[in-house]
């Protein structure tokens, strides 16, 4: 079947404003948008620029706005869109490097600020581990769904808050903040608090669920962000009225004598 592709083109080095290129491509039932784009690049126009790597919805590099909605090019079949005219634009809310390639630097800087890793208070234990933390199923389930994020930025492009507040932490980063803060092994919630509970933090999310609408990995960031708000509120209420904070239930430590207590250097 012949399908027409209308593709956003922009090269900041030479163009003063974006333009559109139109290509006709023959596609079969199994072809993904990424296949079609590569076909264009190989056979029709080698200057078309795009980013991809895994071709299987794992690396998160091929996010773009396809027929008005954020999707992964490698995870969307051309014919599933039911249209013989397909418009492809780069993700919104990101600077365009060239054509369909966007710059994620700002997003990753924001991500760093919320300390996206497990934080333990006990340095001694970090340096000289004596065992492992065995999680029960329900402990794992509390964060598992939110841990599958591939950082594709689709939710960032869809979110109406990001489009008006450049400093908003974004659904991707807030989801990550919740994923680590709720992890039974983590003790870093209070360290992240000043960032996630700020003017540009989770309170700017107004539950439009655009993020959950587009997430290709079933993360449902619209859910984790609301849980994050709940977590912050109960934390502040406890502190305000009882002058203490909730003790996190500790995951059980399973001693493993064979884990060397002296890190090998």
């Amino acid at each position: 079947m012949k399908v027409t592709f209308k593709i956003f083109r922009f090269n900041p080095a030479v163009d003063s404003s974006p333009r559109w290129s139109v290509y006709e491509v023959e596609v079969d039932k199994s072809a993904t948008i990424l296949d079609a784009l590569l076909k264009i690049k190989e056979n029709i126009d080698p200057t078309l620029t795009l980013r991809y790597s895994c071709r299987q919805a794992v690396c998160g590099s091929c996010g773009m706005v396809i027929n008005g909605k954020e999707r992964l090019a490698c995870f969307t079949r051309v014919l599933e869109l039911n249209s013989n005219m397909i418009t492809i634009e780069p993700l919104k809310n990101f600077p365009v490097i060239k054509d369909l390639v966007t710059d994620f630097t700002e997003l990753f800087v924001k991500e760093k600020t919320i300390k996206p890793y497990i934080i333990r208070r006990d340095l001694e234990e970090m340096m000289k581990p004596v065992g492992m933390y065995l999680q029960k199923e329900e402990e794992t389930l509390s964060y598992l769904q939110f841990a599958e994020c591939i950082e594709c930025g689709l939710c960032v492009s869809a979110c109406p808050t990001v489009s008006i507040d450049r400093l908003f932490l974004t659904p991707m980063v807030l989801n990550k903040a919740y994923r680590f803060s709720i992890d039974p092994r983590d003790e870093g919630f209070e360290e992240r608090l000043s960032i996630i509970d700020s003017e540009h933090g989770c309170w700017r999310c107004h539950f439009a669920l655009a993020c959950s609408n587009v997430c290709p990995k079933g993360i449902d960031p619209g859910k984790s962000i609301q849980y994050l708000k709940n977590m912050i509120t109960s934390h502040s209420l406890l502190e305000l009225f009882l002058g203490r904070t909730k003790k996190k239930k500790k995951t059980e430590l399973l001693e493993r004598p064979h884990i060397s207590s002296e890190p090998e250097i």
Partner: protein
Amino acid sequence: MSNVGARKSRGRVTGWLKIRGYSIEKVMYLVQRISGLMIVGFLLWHLLDTNQAYLLITELQILFGVIIIFHALNGVRLVLAEYGFIVGKPIRAVYPYKFTTLRGLQRLSVALVIVVFIILTAIWILNIVGVIG
């Protein structure tokens, strides 16, 4: 850096307006924003001209009633949702993915807001028309 002079494709307020392809919650968000702005506008106007009860034409009065009804009802739904009470429990992200925010209790709350909104609006309009008629 290659992105010097790169074009920002930040959507600005158009990000609010994009509803094609998204679910009903995005529409509720848009209406909530617009009604909120209108209420603020109305309050400012009210501050400037406290005598406006005489000026209010019936259509405007009806409109503001309707807007306030929607904003308040949806506001209650948002408070419940944003504290995580109706968004569903964390689940395993296995294909085909399920989004508990886009179904179940949360979706039901959207339907409920719309139904109650229609009923209250009808009562409100009938009431005003009755008073005048």
